[in-house]
Amino acid sequence: MLEIKLAFKNLLGAGLRTWLNVIVLSIAFVIILFYNGMLDGWNEQARRDTCEWEIGSGEIRHPLFDPYDPYCYQDAHKAIDADLQKLINAGEITPILVTQASIYPQGRMQNIVLKGISPDQKLLKLPSDKLNGGDGDIKAIIGHRMANASNLKIGDRLMVRWRDVQGAFDAKEIVIADIFRSNVPAIDAAQIWVSIDVLQEICVMPNEATYFVVNDEYLKTHREALAPNGWKFASKELLLKDLNDVIKSKKASSGIMYGLLLAIALLAIFDTQVLSIFRRQKEIGTYIALGMTRFKVVRIFTFEGTAHSILAILLGSIYGTPVLSYFVRAGIPMPSSVDQTGLAISASIYPVFSLGLIVSSILLVVISAMIVSYIPTRKITKLNPTDAIKGKIL
């Protein structure tokens, strides 16, 4: 108790010097929180969007299917058997058929991916219900990136050419029934979605699929064998690996940045500690002369240094809370080009400040402050009290 009182009294007594240290450390603290909160928020949003729009709780894939290799689409499809059909009817999985096709903007051929999805599916957020009806027209939905890139509006018609399973060419106009806005480029750029029934028919791939998106229910009921016979299963974590890697790399990058900032703040505390031990030799000598153990004196001084961090956290909370909670509400705007990196990123990131993040940031600041406060105090243990009182040693 004595140490605590003493520490704060000493600190506050030092006035400006203490507050300068505290301000810098509090900035480091708030920035650490801000950055990690932003990345956690991004991570959460991107994972959620990717699951809701693209991958559900995982995918059952044709063994040859590789989404990054458009040339495999030709062979990566097969019939949906009765067991899978039962799961489709139960709403646990939804089939998607993928094929390559061409469109002709301004008379130049451009390759795109044609994807078939059930208009009745509820598993993904895609507005597939808009694919219903059509009076003989093939209805299609596209994302806003595709719409912008090809200059398409709702109601526009465009010629699509494809080849059926036997390689026969065909072409037909499709009508853009809806343009959806999603943060996930993987279901948007250079892609056109049509009803799976239509795609199966025009490609002569009756009741076939390239892959299925599954929901949580499926994971529960098929815990033992996730991959049905003849198909392979790609788990959510596997599909989110890219995203996790990017977040990890961003965390490392921002870690270096706030690590440097923290180092600056700690440098100040270190300097202060060195000086206060130098200036207060007489005091230290007196403590020891009065019978205090050297260890206890070290503790007093260490605590005094560490107390900077406590003040910094308090100060940081005073101005950081309104600032950070503003961002939680309003989001952090992101430039639109960021999503051209191929990652799911929204126009605004809403940072997430979990309890874990706050506690770990506090611990990081306090413990690192404690370490730099302790290092200069080691001198005390070698101190001869009489010399110290005379101020002759340090």
Binding site: L16, R17, L20, N21, I23, V24, I27, A28, I31, Y68, Q106, R108, Q110, K241, D242, D245, V246, K248, S249, A252, S253, I256, M257, L260, L261, A263, I264, A265, L267, A268, D271, T272, V274, L275, F278, R279, K282, P333, M334, P335, S336, S337, V338, Q340, T341, G342, L343, K390, G391
Partner: protein, 424 residues
């Protein structure tokens, strides 16, 4: 007096060592932070400029309609003349021609028949001229994993991951197979001189880099190129200057009615880069201000401490009859000296480390693979002219301010208290 003070600083370690170390560390951290931030924030801009957009890009009008989808059949022709014109009219830029292409690489078996094939995206760059900056723009030398830089025509660099997938090593010969500018068949043999890893998914999946002249030959494009990129000699993007160049270049060809006449676009005209640039500038500005202020506060504090450390000494000097103002001024001189020495040392070390990180980069991505991301996983610092002096701002100014504030105490000292202190 200055030399006397300097001698004092150098000889009296207790007076100078710690402050210099602190200022030095502070300046070093500032330099590192600054170059790191510049590197991180500028990374995708620099990468985009170097790989795709240049600061200003000249392409054919037809190509300018869809600048992202480079098509070899929409290339510029008569580029020697065009480059001469560009150099004449816009002299403070480095104008370089490039050919971007998509094609197939075919690896032969021992019979010379197809063993394996894979699609690649490729660049024809000026990598062989002695004064070319293209090698640096693509950061080729540090990116090489195996083998070496191409040193003569007919040599190529290919992605390490791609090479691994097809079991290819430096020295192997392959055939580039694609379409010529006119649509004919393009075949050209190359020797793998080395493999590269750029740290960006799109490129590492399958890319090839060959010399521009080899590309012109392979794709039958004599005196033609897909694009001519302009880079400011300062190597820094300047929105206003780029806009001026764009207007000027477009004016040069205003009377030309050809669909394939040259047209200029700037970096921020392309793929939402404009918005990103503004954003990056704003964020970078805010962060750098915060960090410099933090460092300034720390060193200011350090100055305060430095002044306090020497109260006893000042007492003695006052007792000896030295003028208060004289002490104060000498204190400030010393602060300047310490600030300069510390900043100099710190900046030196800081720039050295920054420069090193700029060269080798820090790979944060680890084993990122299998995606289409165009995102750098290797982060580098950026050493800009500012890097060299940024450390001095907190280093010198703050320490002087700190000492100046601490030194005010000198005027408050009364002779009575001085003798008290001297008794110890």
């Amino acid at each position: 007096m200055k030399i006397f003070l300097l001698k004092g600083i150098l000889k009296d370690k207790s007076r100078s060592l710690l402050p210099i170390i602190i200022v030095g560390l502070g300046a070093m951290l500032t330099v590192l932070l600054y170059s790191w931030l510049k590197g991180v924030i500028g990374e995708s801009i620099i990468m985009n400029a170097n790989f795709n957009t240049g600061h200003v890009k000249v392409i054919s009008r037809e190509q300018a309609k869809t600048p992202e989808q480079m098509a070899i059949d929409l290339s510029l022709v008569n580029i020697a003349e065009l480059k001469k014109e560009l150099k004449k009219n816009v002299s403070d830029m480095d104008w370089v021609e490039r050919i971007r292409f998509g094609s197939l690489i075919d690896f032969p078996d021992s019979e010379g028949e197809t063993r394996a094939q894979g699609p690649v995206i490729g660049w024809g760059l000026d990598i062989l001229s002695p004064n070319t900056k293209e090698r640096e723009r693509f950061n080729l030398a540090p990116s090489i994993k195996r083998g070496k830089m191409p040193s003569k025509h007919g040599e190529a660099l290919i992605s390490e991951d791609f090479a691994e997938k097809f079991e290819v090593k430096p020295g192997d010969v392959f055939t580039l197979f694609g379409s010529t500018m006119e649509g004919g068949m393009a075949f050209q043999n190359f020797t793998v001189s080395g493999t590269v890893k750029f740290g960006a998914q799109v490129l590492d999946r399958g890319a090839i880099i060959i010399d521009i002249q080899d590309a012109q030959q392979a794709f039958q494009m004599p005196d033609a190129a897909g694009e001519i990129l302009g880079f400011f000699n300062s190597n820094l993007y300047d929105t206003e200057k780029a806009m001026k160049v764009k207007v000027k270049v477009n004016a040069m060809f205003a009377s030309d009615t050809d669909k394939y006449a040259p047209a200029a676009i700037t970096l921020q005209d392309q793929e939402g880069m404009g918005q990103y640039l503004d954003y990056a500038d704003a964020i970078g500005g805010i962060l750098i201000t915060i960090f410099i202020s933090a460092m300034a506060i720390v060193l200011w504090n350090s100055g305060l401490l430095g002044g306090l450390r020497r109260y006893t000494e000042f007492g003695v000097r006052l007792a000896l009859g030295e003028d208060k103002t004289h002490i104060y001024v000498s204190l400030l001189y010393e602060a300047v000296a310490i600030g300069l020495i510390g900043s100099l040392l710190g900046s030196f070390v800081g720039v050295l480390i920054s420069y090193w990180i700029q060269q080798v980069g820090i790979d944060l991505g680890g084993m990122m693979q299998g995606s289409t991301l165009m995102m750098p996983t290797v982060i580098r610092t950026a050493v800009t002219p500012t890097t060299y002096y940024i450390g001095f701002i907190p280093g010198v100014f703050s320490i002087v301010i700190g000492n100046a504030l601490a030194g005010i105490g000198i005027y408050k000292r009364s002779t009575a208290r001085l003798f008290n202190e001297l008794e110890v």
